[in-house]
């Protein structure tokens, strides 16, 4: 399999001169096409910053990021916007839906804006995705009339609308109860099985246990990684304990 994303010696610092602190400290990482990867680490370890830099939403101080054959660190803002719109999908901890639009409009917004496909096709795809994610009843509702889990699913539908090559998830289950979180993870597993690459940032071992590879971050560095078998719904406890043991070993 070819690599869809590959970063080389990324450095990113925050703060002014004297208080400057490297949040990403010489990070090199690569992800295969179709892979389901999670990044784990304590608060302030730099995992979210890594995800924002890898997706071109934040800039790095040095290093390079190859995505789908292009170096993101050398692209103009306009080009980065195009890449995000056509090749990437995002799911954040809070459902980042626009308050002015109803749920259905929020889902179709990026695709309608892209306007490459005709509207009828977009609407059909949105309906299909909503059905697949179990929120087909919310078509006409506005975002106040849905639960956190439902909104998160709507966010996933939006991320999937443009058939992205990769989906980035920043603590996508972080604000959900365990039942909703589990449902969202099932959805991610299904997307992964369909061939979409996924990179999740999480501090929850149970979430990481459902991915194929776990990267452990601490103080801006990837300190370890763990390969797991593709998750098929069984032995979750065992996978979780493996991860927690690993975390203990590296002092997290």
């Amino acid at each position: 399999m070819s690599k869809i994303i590959m970063s080389n010696r990324l450095i990113k610092a925050f703060g002014k001169e004297e208080e400057k602190r490297n949040v990403l400290n010489d990070v090199s990482v690569s992800i295969e096409e179709g892979e389901f990867v999670s990044v784990m680490g304590p608060s302030g370890s730099g995992k979210s910053t890594l995800m924002f830099c890898l997706s071109g939403m934040d800039t790095v101080d040095s290093g390079s990021i190859q995505f789908d054959g292009e170096d993101l660190t050398k692209q103009e803002e306009q080009k980065l916007s195009d890449i995000r719109r056509t090749k990437m999908g995002f799911v954040f901890q809070q459902p980042t839906l626009l308050k002015n639009l109803n749920i259905f409009d929020n889902i179709i917004l990026p695709s309608i804006h892209e306007n490459k496909k005709n509207k009828a096709v977009i609407i059909e795809r949105a309906k299909l995705l909503m059905k697949q994610t179990g929120i087909e009843a919310l078509t006409k509702r506005n975002i106040k009339q849905a639960s956190g889990g439902q909104l998160q699913r709507a966010g996933i539908c939006r991320a999937l609308m443009g058939n992205p090559k990769i989906i980035f998830g920043d603590e996508p289950t972080g604000s959900l109860d365990s039942k909703s979180a589990q449902e969202i993870m099932k959805l991610f597993s299904k997307i992964s099985k369909d061939g979409t690459t996924i990179l999740l940032v999480t501090h929850d071992a149970k979430v990481a246990a459902q991915t194929e590879r776990v990267l452990f971050m601490s103080d801006g560095k990837i300190v370890n990684e763990m390969h797991l078998m593709k998750y098929n719904g069984a032995n979750l406890e065992e996978r979780v304990s493996k991860i927690t043991e690993q975390m203990k070993m590296i002092g997290m």
Binding site: S48, T49, F52, M57, D58, E77, Q78, S81, D82, I83, R84, R85, T86, M88, G89, F90, F92, Q93, Q94, T96, L97, L98, K99, N100, L101, N102, F104, D105, I108, L109, P110, I112, H113, E114, N115, K119, I123, N142, I143, K144, R158, A159, D170, E171, G174
Partner: protein, 773 residues
């Protein structure tokens, strides 16, 4: 701590804080100016009226007078302190020349008087009682102000030559609204002129106690003494002296209210955006036990500093401008006795602005009470907002590009937020269009129909002082009839006749005699006089005499009564708006002036013929109608043009600043939504289009409502002003290109520039800063 918070906040929001400061400074300046003007105006009026010893009660009277009876009344009335009968010699304006320019176009009744002995003094510009020598004349200060006369000029009255020795302040007739003007001359000169003018008596009383004016007035009426003329009292003189500057103060206060309202809108908007931005922090502060009053203090402190600095700026600005505004009061009414207090009052006005602003900020901050710490900490935003407008959905949208749709949708969803901006655009369009339409109406040739003259090409005017007018007119007519380019002409002579009013009293009326069908006017009611027993009245005359079409008027001519039927009413704003037109022939009264209206078959010949006729008839004044209009209305047209340019500039500036401010604040409020859109691939250009859509949509709505209001309410307003001058059935003559194309386009440019400027920092909104947990 407050210093640091305020400094940081100011550095972060330079533009927004700066704009709010500009508006508060202007409000403070206007309030301060208004206060200074009020104190100075009342002080100057008091000083003038005290020094001049203005009568407490005055009865004007024309006709026979029985001084013995008047004296007897005074002896029997204990309230009277002083009494006198002053004379005012009303003269024909066309017989008064200042530096060879006659006052025939003056709307005032000009006349001469001598200095009074005991009260009602005419004062010089230093406030001293004038002593005039033979051959000298003191001219009303209003003629100095408009540049008609200056020191050392010569004045010719019925052939008597005078030298302008100075200017006078008349505590009774200073105001342009008092239709008479007294020139002061020596008694010896007065007695020489006595036969040529019509004498009016001013029966004047000073009372022991001013409070008794009303009782005294009743007693005077009851005594059935001389009463052929208006009655005037001390409070009325005060009002006449105050009114023109009072109107200016009123306008200042009105503009001030507008600016304060805009400041309030800005503060409200900024504060609401700030509260939303700090929602979580406020929740946390509340959660850890800080009292609402303590949290409010942080915000109040910032606005207290901004307002205080702006108020000081306002005071400084007002000291810069007050000289210009006080100039008129100082010249017309003299120095004020209270000018030293004026500044204190100005500062008090500014302090009032300060506390009003702080009270308003405090009111807006009451929202803190409603913030639930639990909700603020959990969600970081107010969850009770109404969202989404049904029906207008992206999935149903067929026509609009996505960015335009998103821009419009936001306006519909957050209507309340945008109302401020819409209101500003409505106000801006209104103040942009009304003066402009008024200017185009007055500047247009057809405005002549409001001036009581039909549409012709040339007007040849002959004044009384220059030989026998009838012969002159016939001489001109003969030459005109031979001119192949003259397609029509008509001779109109204006004479003064006496008419009998309904109450039996007699009044003078200027009537223009001749053929009024050649160059007909637009009659508001009825038609032009055709038969000898018909008369058409100007609107003001008709209103004053309470006549409508079909009524009759009694004209006194050579001791006989002539009945005339009112056949038409027209608009006329010349000669004080009081004119009349008739066709009967009359040899009795003297001709005041004569005018010949000429229509040429070839309009390109106008300029040439004006030059030729000027040479041909050196005794006459030849002017093309456009020039005539310009002479008569030049100053008015120019000042209205200036007002229209100034209001256009103000409207454009307000639109620019408010758009800049609002879009900046909107963006601060919408940082999160912008970051979300950027995260899934919307470019800066996309989001900018959304903001331009919002501004343009609001501008379009604002201009539409503004134009509608300008053409309804604005037209009525302008009509009311012109109707007071004598024009009726007023309609705006709109220059469509300038009013509805160029001006709105200029506004579009301003709004576009402001929106682009405000959104230029969109790149600084980082996705990671706003979305990352």
């Amino acid at each position: 701590m407050y210093y640091r918070i305020i400094r940081n906040d100011f550095m972060k929001n330079k533009l927004i804080t700066g704009t709010i400061m500009v508006f508060i400074s202007i409000s403070a300046m206007l309030v301060s100016l208004a206060a200074i003007l009020i104190v100075n105006l009342s002080g100057s009026i008091d000083t003038l009226m005290t020094k001049a010893k203005t009568p407490h009660f005055m009865q004007m009277h024309t006709g026979e007078i029985n001084e013995e009876r008047l004296l007897e009344f005074v002896l029997q009335n204990s309230k009277v302190d002083e009494f006198q009968v002053a004379e005012f010699l009303n003269l024909e304006n066309s017989r008064i020349f200042i530096n060879e320019n006659s006052l025939s176009h003056s709307v005032q009744d000009n006349g001469v008087a001598v200095q009074n002995k005991t009260f009602d003094y005419l004062l010089d510009l230093e406030g001293n009682v004038i002593t005039v020598s033979p051959g000298e004349i003191y001219v009303p200060v209003s003629y100095k102000k408009d540049g008609t006369a200056k020191l050392g000029d010569s004045v010719l009255i019925y052939g008597h030559k005078f030298l302008v020795a100075g200017f006078l302040r008349d505590s009774q007739m200073n105001s342009l609204l008092a239709s008479s003007k007294r020139f002061l001359i020596h008694e010896a000169d007065y007695s020489q002129l006595e036969d040529v003018g019509s004498k009016e008596y001013l029966i004047e009383y000073r009372l022991k106690d001013k409070k008794d004016i009303n009782v005294f007035e009743a007693e005077y009426t009851k005594a059935n003494l001389e009463k052929n003329g208006p009655t005037l009292t001390y409070p009325l003189f005060q009002m006449l002296n105050a009114i023109s500057d009072g109107i200016m103060i009123g306008v200042l206060l009105l503009v001030c209210i507008l600016v304060v309202a805009i400041s309030f809108m800005c503060i409200r908007f900024t504060l609401l955006a700030k509260i939303e931005e700090d929602y979580k922090e406020i929740g946390v502060l509340k959660a850890i036990g800080l009292r609402v009053t303590d949290i409010k203090k942080i915000y109040l402190a910032k606005y207290a500093v901004i307002t205080a600095v702006s108020c000081i700026l306002g005071i400084i600005l007002s000291t810069v401008f007050r000289g210009k505004l006080l100039w008129n009061i100082r010249l017309t009414l003299g120095e004020s006795a209270y000018s030293s207090y004026a500044f204190c009052f100005g500062i008090m006005g500014v302090i009032l602005v300060f506390f009003t602003m702080i009270a308003y900020v405090n009111k807006v901050l009451k929202r803190f009470k409603k913030i639930s710490p639990a909700q603020a900490i959990r969600f970081g935003m107010n969850q009770e907002k109404s969202i989404e407008s049904r029906g207008f959905t992206l999935s149903n949208n067929v026509l609009l590009p996505t960015n335009v749709f998103l821009g419009l949708k936001d306006v519909f969803v957050r209507k309340k937020l945008y109302i401020t901006m819409l209101l500003v655009f409505v106000i801006a369009s209104f103040i942009m269009i009304v003066p402009q339409n008024l200017y185009h109406t007055i500047a247009k040739e057809s405005f002549g129909t409001y001036m009581g003259i039909g549409q012709s090409d040339l007007r040849i005017g002959i004044m009384q002082t220059k030989g026998n007018m009838r012969e002159r007119a016939e001489e001109i007519a003969q030459i005109l009839s031979k001119d192949e380019y003259v397609s029509a002409y008509t001779i109109l002579t204006t004479k003064t006749f006496q008419i009998q009013k309904l109450d039996g009293s007699i009044e003078n009326m200027k009537i223009e005699l001749g053929d009024h069908t050649t160059f007909p006017l637009k009659y508001a009611k009825g038609r032009a006089p055709i038969n000898e027993d018909e008369i058409a009245l100007s609107k003001l005359n008709a209103d004053e005499l309470k006549k409508v079409v079909g009524d009759t008027i009694i004209l006194l001519s050579e001791g006989t009564k002539r009945e005339l039927k009112v056949c038409g009413i027209y608009s006329d704003i010349t000669n004080g708006g009081k004119t009349a037109k008739a066709t009967f022939t009359d040899d009795s009264a003297d001709i005041m002036w004569c005018s010949i209206d000429v229509l040429l078959s070839d309009a390109t010949m106008i300029a040439k013929r004006v030059v030729e006729y000027k040479e041909c008839f050196p005794y006459a004044k030849v002017s093309d109608i456009k020039e005539f209009m310009l002479q008569t209305f030049g100053p008015t047209i120019r000042s209205i043009h200036m007002v229209s340019v100034v209001s256009l500039s103000i409207a454009l500036l307000i639109s620019l600043f408010i758009t800049l401010l609002f879009i900046k604040m909107l963006m601060a409020k919408d940082q999160y939504a912008i970051a979300v859109m950027k995260s899934f691939g919307f470019t800066i250009y996309d989001v900018t289009i959304q903001y331009i859509t919002r501004s343009f949509f609001l501008l379009f709505m604002g201009v539409t409502i503004g134009v509608l209001m300008a053409n309804t309410f604005g037209e009525t307003l302008a009509g009311m002003i012109l109707s007071a001058l004598g024009a009726s059935t007023f309609r705006f003559e709109v220059n469509v290109v300038s009013s509805y194309l160029i001006s709105p386009l200029m506004m579009v440019c301003c709004v576009l520039i402001a929106t682009l400027l405000a959104t230029s920092c969109m790149g600084e909104i980082k996705i990671s800063d706003n979305i990352k947990e």
